[in-house]
Subunit: 473 residues, 2 copies
């Protein structure tokens, strides 16, 4: 144990940490008939929509089934656009089979469809050669982060990440030995991103590392805010001024709920800011089929678009991923269906639209419901969930609870979350797994349980919290 990679030992990924391991044990105990005050574990720890009862989008699954078993194209009664799409994808595969490796950056046809999607979304050109498909966004993010591993003038590279952040970032920085440079989001302004805080964070960090990258998650995870266009412009100016590679984690771009909130991609904004930004700022944007209205986490599909990368550096990045052969072709198929969904007049369009709208409007209602209930609970404050799939409320932690946690060797929010899990079966992630201002306590819950289950979860949560507060008053 003492001889293994110390970076691996350091790495933490709270979304699947000890609490979640315990939740899986409890599920097994329940299966074996253990008596508990609850009948099921509610996994509100992870953005896993289908696991929480969301139904797949029919079009995606029909196309995946057809490319997997092409006999269906002729023999089963699928809509003609499904069959057509499956034929196109198969034609783009080596030997006409999804069992062939694709190019490491993905099937060219699908990269082209992604570029067209980006063009429609932004109203600006996208070059398919700058699009790289991946097995989910995480892989692509790690590949780009890895480029920055290089000590210059005796100092390691550093990457700025929001606090609170999605722990893929802290975990990957630890794994690669990159310095984590946190900047705080402002809870008082609905998790706003202040440029003065970016400047403070950068200037402090510059003493110990070469800050080379800036991660922005929009819509926010775990914080659910949606950045305004003005805010994005300021961030782009900041990144440009300090020659930072900007990581735009935009996997929740379809998940916008609050009135007045709108998604602007960093790519669109930088294009519209003109020179020198539009031709100088280095940007990598990430997207996934795991979130949005599709929630296809298990299929592992995603992409990144690179902007203004030095062509040699981009070639090095593509070389590096080539040793991992290729992202799954069936995940790429799902990407194709997301990048090029059925269009009005096509046979699958009505059903696709109906399913998509149903998912997003239900998420919208749940986003409101969860914040409202939390805000009605004494000791809770919860910002508006403008987008993404999570609420990140703050809890006042009674002094006695803090002591009790200490006695058990736990941080207070983890202590709270473990108690919640053992007593109610609700699995959330303590705020300490994402980072939070010292002395504050939060947790992240998804908004993904289906409405009835979510209502039940919130009722149980309220009772638990009342009991907890009374116990440690």
């Amino acid at each position: 144990m003492e001889n293994i990679n110390p970076n691996i030992v350091k790495l933490e990924y709270a979304v699947r940490g000890p609490l979640v391991i315990r939740a899986a044990e409890i599920e097994k105990e329940l299966e074996k008939g253990a008596q508990k005050p609850f009948k099921r574990v509610i996994k509100a720890n992870i953005g896993d929509a289908h696991a929480m009862g969301q139904k797949p989008i029919t079009f995606i699954r029909q196309v995946v089934a057809c490319v997997s078993y092409p006999e269906l194209i002729e023999k089963y009664d699928f809509p003609s656009d499904v069959k057509q799409r499956a034929r196109e994808i198969l034609k783009a595969c080596g030997g006409g089979s999804v069992g062939s490796y694709s190019m490491s950056h993905g099937i060219e046809l699908i990269r082209r469809h992604v570029a067209e999607y980006i063009e429609r979304r932004d109203g600006h050109a996208s070059d398919w050669r700058n699009v790289c498909l991946s097995a989910g966004a995480s892989n692509a993010i790690k590949n780009v982060l890895q480029l920055l591993c290089n000590d210059i003038n005796g100092q390691p590279s550093g990457v700025m990440i929001p606090i609170p952040q999605y722990p893929l970032y802290s975990a990957s920085l630890a794994e690669y030995g990159l310095e984590q440079v946190g900047y705080y989001l402002n809870e008082e302004t609905n998790w706003g991103l202040d440029i003065s805080e970016l400047e403070r964070s950068l200037s402090e960090a510059s003493k110990k590392c070469n800050v080379r990258g800036l991660v922005v998650i929009n819509p926010g995870n775990p914080t659910g805010q949606v950045l305004t266009r003005e805010n994005i412009e300021s961030i782009l100016k900041f990144a440009h001024k300090h020659s930072l590679l900007l990581f735009a984690d935009e996997v929740y771009q379809d998940n916008i709920y609050a009135e007045g909130s709108k998604f602007y991609s960093f790519k669109k904004v930088v294009r519209e800011m003109g020179e020198p930004y539009s031709s100088e700022l280095e940007l990598a944007s990430f997207m996934s089929v795991s979130k949005g209205y599709m929630g296809e986490c298990g299929l592992r599909g995603g992409w990144m678009e690179l902007l203004n990368f030095d062509p040699e550096v981009q070639a090095q990045l593509f070389k590096c991923i080539s040793a991992m052969l290729c992202p799954t072709t069936l995940g790429q198929t799902a990407v194709d269906c997301v990048a090029k969904p059925p269009q009005p007049g096509e046979p699958s369009y009505e059903l696709w639209l109906k399913e998509k709208t149903a998912v997003l409007s239900s998420l919208n209602k749940r986003a409101k419901m969860i914040a409202d209930v939390f805000n009605s609970m004494p000791g809770f404050t919860c910002n508006v969930v403008q987008g993404a799939m999570y609420a990140f409320p703050q809890i006042e932690m009674p002094a006695k609870a803090i002591e009790a946690a200490k006695a058990e060797g736990k941080v207070p929010d983890a202590f709270y979350a473990f108690k919640l899990l053992e007593e109610t079966g609700i699995c959330i992630v303590p705020g300490s797994g994402f980072g939070q201002k010292p002395g504050t306590f939060h947790f992240r819950t998804t908004i993904l349980p289906q409405p009835e289950l979510l209502q039940q979860m919130l009722d149980t949560f309220r009772d638990f919290h009342a009991k907890f507060t009374a116990e440690y008053a």
Copy 2:
């Protein structure tokens, strides 16, 4: 460019290197109507069976289609064992959907099936908790290699790999900053693995690094040898003596062709050697659905089995992969079909057996054919292809060709391979991409083109080589 990760710049992966990039360009030129002395590019550079015309195994694809679009289970006329299998897998998925994340080490049901497969294969117990599913073997290999990144007493860790080797190893060692410690396979004894050479290599390397791992590829890639049981025993003793973590790359375990050759897993042999080996030797064995009789490269499924890992280290490994969420559930589905194929008496059995046998017996014929033809060509010597999917012949390089290569700034085998590609459309990989004894020249070709195409490829190759030899005589 000068500021990026120097390990990424160093990394080379010849199987998808400059030659293959040029091959893709030529394909595009042909599509656009360019006149060439050939009509198609033959990609003999990569073990990509379906791309070369091999048909998928029906059972695998039917199950994948059913789990992707479960309506098919009720509505389409699939064999009952296909439907049953799909139902079982869906039941093991969160929310009954392959769109859910699985556990990071894979779906428990499938891990259990893999352990049962290993038990049947070896005749020895396998604990499913030591089985970890992965998106192909490469991912799993990299995850285990990464554990060894740790400078101890001011020296980096080193890992022994065969020369010639599959370049995933050299690429990953470069990426992780691990020392590559090559040991030569003995071409004169059909790429035999001599313990004296292992000792020489280890003792030389010990001056500059802490050697901590030993990679053995059996059946060999690119070399095609199948290790004898005695040889495996000696290797295990060597690894045990020097406390090396043994990486057993056994992804070609189904691809055994030569009479008298038989596959023995390292796990089986170490179990049968008894103490102290069976309870002390640290072993990680790797398997994939990309090779064997299935050739499902694009689906990205694989597994590793760990033996005698310190439980804490194993927990760290599993923690580290958890940040990458999970391997694709459809790749895992393919793993399930390979680990638990149809059994005699079940409706899918006859077709499955027929398809499997046809693939393996055709590969068997092609393995012989390719070695025979190469050995009949002046200046070529080619060892028996006992297993795997490749031939790795040696070519005598005329002095004038070596000069001409030098003038073009190419190594001679790459010079030869580029000429072959431009003049015939045949894409092979130069031996320098795998490593070879200084002053010798080889290339790797797959045996995967279907028989007629392979015959045509070999005829063209023979003509090219005659011309090349005449030109540089």
